[in-house]
């Protein structure tokens, strides 16, 4: 089969500068329109007493025709001998910046249209700036409506030099400036006699000269774990880790590390359906692997190679962002960050500065990021995540922020930050400061109850032990209760059913569950009780979070079977047979229940 190359091109620029006309022309003059389409649009114009314009070819939607502006990205298809193109028409109106972003992010290259008569406008610059953040590196500037300035070379050069100066500040070096008139078809698919002083390529030849991005096979492996499948139908016993490879390659036998958990294993096989057996998968493939050593991992981890440069792992980073949300981005509000396959709560810690995307002026006085602003900020995630700096590996240096239910902003990471005054500690300090102490002291409580208060967590990193940790936690409550201690078992499901409403955003979010348990534990331990809770597959970060939230009281973690932790050491390990004895022994050793003895 003879398959042609394909390329996505976005067309951007200020409203009314002629983007849709350029596309209409390209489609018509390359013969890419279905038979009768041109005629039917012309007839539509006649019936509606409007002069025919090439732009109407794209205005397929009724309300768009009514308004006369492009509101959303439309895709159209045309082909040259070299390759097939998908042209993405991005709206030029500021209100529809989010649609422009959607279109531009899918493109290998951009055509940026400037009206020769009107000159450079706010969105000519803003779109240039967003292209740079989105990582669209190939930019061709079309200076349109040359017929309206009598094909004047001087005016053309004035625009190009002014725009080049702006673009250089945002690190864009356009491939070419082409003087065109889309209305008259000048320099679209052939050189124009009206512009003899221009010796460069026409738009069509320029498009064919662009290059599809080189595959980043040579970079370190980055494979965000999208899911783990175990479909048992028809005797299938494979446990397949799936995801789309963002960079590098993965081979059978590779030693791999999952981040941020730092769990390690080795690649046993590359899986596929209706493909020949292979032992390597490359960047951009949506692949699946099995592991030699079974380990418990969650979707959202980043799979990398042990012998390659590791990504950053941190809960704090510095980023440039653009904001398209309805509500502004503010501090102390919980958002959701999506990076790779990770979805995690995030907060805005600090605004370094807000840049006027069109003028590049810095406005340091605003304390929130408003719609259509570009800003440099510091963010903090609910627990550490793995990422790269944008200049190292693009694909893992990009993220989006979800506000309420909508993607409201995008960003590129420019640095990892290490901060000790993280927001959890700040919250706990504030909480403790505001804590209203009762007249009964902790000592009095433990004297009366015959034991100290404690948070006891039962966990396990062994596969399939969810139920076992629950049962053991319940048996411990039973035992301590029978011994006349004030012990209470709290399962996560009880917590969820009660404290969290299904409407709340955090409903499916494990980190949010951990946070709630931590807060509840603080109340229980303050009341002098022993709170026992099972959390299957607890990790280092989560145990840390519980510790901080349960302050000033203490936490004891017991582990069944394989440890789920990377560094943290549980107070004791047990098996299903000796769990109760070991817990009691530890409690005595820790003098939790000293008074009883």
């Amino acid at each position: 089969m003879n398959l042609k190359e394909q390329m996505n091109i976005v067309i951007v620029g200020h409203v009314d500068h002629g983007k849709s006309t350029v596309i209409g022309r390209l489609l018509a003059d390359t013969g890419s329109l279905p038979d009768g389409k041109l005629e039917s649009v012309k007839e539509y114009c006649r019936n509606n007493s409007r002069p025919f314009e090439y732009a109407f070819l794209l205005d397929a939607l009724k309300d768009e025709q009514a308004q006369g502006i492009t509101i959303d990205t439309a895709r159209c298809f045309f082909k040259t001998n070299k390759r097939d193109y998908i042209i993405i028409d991005a709206p030029g109106h500021i209100e529809f910046l989010k649609n422009m972003v959607t279109g531009a992010s899918r493109a290998e290259a951009a055509l940026l249209v400037i009206d020769a008569k009107e000159g450079i406008r706010e969105n000519s610059k803003r779109h240039g700036h967003i292209l740079s953040m989105l990582g669209v590196k190939q930019v061709v500037v079309l200076v349109n409506k040359m017929d309206l300035i009598d094909y004047d070379q001087e005016k053309f050069q004035k625009i190009t030099s002014e725009f080049s100066e702006f673009l250089s500040k945002i690190h864009i070096k356009p491939i070419n400036y082409i003087p065109i008139s889309a209305f008259n078809g000048d320099n679209i698919v052939s050189s124009s006699k009206n512009i003899p002083w221009y010796k460069g390529m026409d738009v069509l030849r320029q498009l064919d000269s662009l290059k599809n991005k080189k595959k980043n096979y040579g970079q370190p492996l980055r494979l965000p774990v999208q899911d783990i499948y175990k479909f048992t139908a028809n005797g299938d016993d494979r446990r397949i880790v799936v995801g789309t490879i963002l960079s590098g390659k993965i081979k059978v036998g590779d030693e791999v590390v999952f981040l941020p958990s730092y769990k390690k294993s080795t690649v046993k096989s590359i899986e596929g359906f209706n493909v020949p057996k292979r032992d390597t998968a490359y960047a951009e493939e949506a692949t699946g692997i099995t592991l030699s050593k079974q380990i418990y991992i969650n979707p959202g981890e980043l799979l990398v190679k042990a012998n390659e440069k590791l990504p950053e792992v941190s809960s704090c980073f510095r980023a440039n962002i653009f904001w398209v949300g309805k509500a502004p981005l503010v501090k102390d509000k919980q958002y959701k960050l999506k990076i790779g396959s990770t979805k995690i709560p995030v907060k805005l810690l600090e605004i370094i500065n807000i840049i006027d995307a069109a003028e590049l002026n810095i406005d340091s006085y605003k304390d929130q990021v408003e719609r259509h602003d570009v800003a440099e900020c510091i963010f903090e995630t609910g627990k550490p995540i793995a990422f790269d700096i944008i200049s190292d590996i693009e694909q893992t240096g990009r993220f989006v922020i979800v506000d309420n239910y909508d993607i409201s902003g995008g960003g590129i990471i420019i640095g990892s930050e290490s901060r000790h005054d993280n927001s959890l500690l700040k919250h706990v300090n504030e909480r403790e400061y505001l804590w209203s102490n009762s007249l009964v002291s902790q000592d009095e409580k433990s004297a009366k109850y015959g034991h100290k208060s404690k948070l006891i967590i039962i966990t396990s990193g062994s596969e399939g032990k969810e139920k076992s940790v629950e049962n053991i936690a319940k048996q411990i409550e039973r035992k301590l209760f029978d011994l006349n201690f004030k012990a209470y078992y709290l399962g996560i499901s009880s917590l969820l059913a009660g404290l969290v409403s299904e409407d709340s955003i955090g409903y499916r979010d494990r980190l949010e569950h951990i946070r709630q348990l931590g807060e509840v534990a603080r109340l229980f331990t303050d009341s002098g009780q022993i709170l026992i809770s099972p959390i299957y597959n607890l990790d280092d970060y989560e145990v840390d979070k519980l510790k901080v939230l349960n302050q000033p009281n203490e936490i004891l973690v017991f582990n069944l079977g394989e440890t789920p932790f990377n560094n943290f050491k549980p107070i004791a390990n047990f098996n299903e047979g000796n769990a109760l004895d070991i817990v009691l022994e530890v409690l005595k050793g820790q003098e939790v229940i000293e008074y009883y003895l």
């Binding site: 089969m1 398959l3 042609k4 013969g31 329109l33 279905p34 038979d35 389409k37 397929a60 939607l61 009724k62 309300d63 509101i71 959303d72 439309a74 159209c76 298809f77 097939d84 998908i86 989010k98 649609n99 972003v101 959607t102 531009a104 992010s105 899918r106 989105l134 595959k215 999208q226 899911d227 499948y229 479909f231 139908a233 028809n234 299938d236 397949i240 799936v242 789309t244 899986e271 596929g272 359906f273 209706n274 490359y282 951009e284 493939e285 949506a286 699946g288 979707p299 959701k336 990009r398 993220f399 989006v400 979800v402 309420n404 239910y405 909508d406 993607i407 995008g410 409407d503 955003i505």
Partner: protein
């Protein structure tokens, strides 16, 4: 990677994301070439398994070969196969073929309405029993909050504006003028209670890509697409009163690919054989807002 590999990888990524994010998810299968490619991509994504129920809206005016093909494949690939219908309209003969309403109203009633109420679980769903091959009423009445659909951007104007993950509000409405942004392969996977999301893994595919992929993967496709010796074949499948075959002698997939690339169809819109499009002034916009695929 060639462009088919890229399209495949993108679609597989979207399918896996949808499967990960939505608890109650289904895939619409019209048994046409596009949604059959979609079904094949699901087998790619899930390594031969299809862990998502397939929903077919049966107008009972489909070409009989379509239903046989659907059930044969459902049995062979062990699919969770479900169909829904507008029982009331069919019983009262409120259809275009019965001469009681026009084409657009018929589509709206037998497809859009049937789809809406089947997805919400308000109308009965019929599920294939793999023991007998018969359909029995499905006990599961839960609303599907994620619906995977095989629309392509090149089909007609309104579809070219779709997102990969496209929200529908409580009334099933599509707010074209206020769609969520979508970039860097991050999709809208959070949605307010009561709303649902349409997922479009084939958005970037063209009709030609579909046939090239069918050829490459050797995907079983219903014979209706091929000339059976009378010089006619279907280019697009629908209900028999409203779908006419086109003049073509393509007898197999590679002949169709050739015909689309350089032959007589390289410049004629795919849906030209669908009568309802013309009745709506050349656009599917009206139906689309009502939930038509």
């Amino acid at each position: 990677m060639n462009h088919l590999d890229k399209l495949e990888a993108q679609s597989v990524n979207i399918l896996r994301e949808a499967y990960r994010e939505f608890k109650n998810i289904c895939m619409l299968w019209s048994v046409g070439k596009d949604s059959t490619v979609l079904l094949w991509l699901a087998r790619k994504a899930f390594f031969g398994h299809v862990p998502i129920p397939l929903v077919h809206i049966d107008t009972h005016f489909k070409l009989p070969e379509m239903i046989k093909y659907r059930d044969d494949l459902a049995l062979k690939w062990k699919l969770t196969m479900i169909y829904g219908e507008n029982t009331e309209a069919l019983k009262n003969k409120m259809t275009f073929p019965d001469g009681n309403i026009d084409r657009i109203k018929c589509c709206k009633s037998l497809k859009s309405e049937a789809l809406k109420h089947t997805l919400s679980g308000e109308w009965p769903r019929y599920k294939m029993d793999h023991e007998t091959g018969e359909y029995i009423q499905d006990d599961n009445k839960e609303k599907y909050t994620g619906v995977i659909v095989g629309v392509r951007a090149d089909e007609e104007g309104s579809r070219s504006k779709e997102r990969y993950f496209s929200p529908r509000d409580k009334e099933n409405d599509w707010d074209v003028s206020d769609q969520p942004p979508e970039f860097w392969n991050q999709y809208k996977t959070d949605f307010a209670p009561g709303t649902h999301v349409r997922i479009h893994p084939l958005l970037d595919w063209t009709e030609l890509n579909i046939w090239e992929y069918i050829e490459r993967e050797n995907i079983p496709i219903t014979d209706l697409y091929f000339d059976q010796g009378n010089g006619k074949r279907y280019r697009s499948l629908g209900c028999y009163p409203c779908t006419t075959p086109v003049d073509s002698t393509s007898k197999n997939v590679s002949e169709i690919v050739e015909e689309l690339k350089s032959g007589k169809f390289s410049k004629i819109a795919e849906r030209s054989g669908r009568a309802q499009d013309k009745d709506d002034g050349g656009g599917l916009e009206t139906l689309r807002r009502d939930g038509y695929m």
